[in-house]
Subunit: 94 residues, 4 copies
């Protein structure tokens, strides 16, 4: 995934897009893409266009990874920390 | 990241939550978490609570990774495919 | 506004769309339209296309009014109740 | 509804909140509230807490009405224009 992050960063640097990638703009982009993903579930439970589902998932990931990278957050670390927090909130029943 | 995905899957299997994780429910969860992330930018450009920002980013990632995994999508592959498509749409000027 | 609601209801009844208008599908439609409205603010504070802003606002309103109508909620009543609740939460300083 | 709009405007003016109500902040608020409404449909089709559904619908309406008012848009007009546009896009079959 670190290589993928480098490719994402190269893509935006090549186009000089970093100037638009404020945290707010990236968070806005995440929810816009999440909305486009939701369009596949607007009127039915099963999506009709799996190619679009795949692309919208990728878009959500790309913007989320850019935001995390810009904020110097390590993906694995923040996910593991959140799982640990969730495990405290929802402990396993014995 | 594959290990992290295994930990996420173990977490939900341990709690028997997979039964609720339909693609539609997961897509809904992604946009709900994206909305909680947006709360940090509701009235200002700079978020006040970076701990919350970090956690909401993690939540978006966790639900998106679960959805991709359930649909047998490889994260690196779909991101690279989307970057390639974007590169065609936005070619570099010479 | 009651006449407008009647026109909205006639529009969907004429097309036999009520069958798709479950509360969940309408709530999903509201956030999808809210996402399309947000696209106008993805990279800038000032929207470039006011015609689109106007149409997306209308779409949010139409779906929200349909949901409220299907749930037998009176718009004026629920808005006034919410304002009253907010006034308790944020009392005026003297 | 015009009276309700006046009450909404009085509420924010009394608290000097208009300064925060840029179009972008209001659009952001609409989608945040739409996300809170969606929470009622995260894991099930039928919402469990109808009081919350009612309040979130009111919140979506309040922010959308404030945005429309700030942009000098008349609610009935923009809804009717959108219905007319939709009628052209989805004509009735004979």
């Amino acid at each position: 995934m670190k290589e993928v992050m480098q490719e994402i960063n190269k893509f935006r640097e090549d186009r000089d897009w970093n100037q638009y990638h404020t945290p707010r703009n990236l968070a806005t982009s995440i929810i816009i893409e999440a909305g486009e993903l939701m369009e596949n579930f607007q009127w039915q439970d099963e999506p009709k266009d799996m190619v679009n589902v795949k692309e919208e998932i990728a878009d959500v990931l790309i913007y989320t990874m850019m935001l995390a990278d810009d904020l110097d957050l390590d993906l694995e670390t923040i996910i593991r920390e959140k799982i640990a927090k969730n495990a405290l909130k929802y402990p396993l029943e014995k």
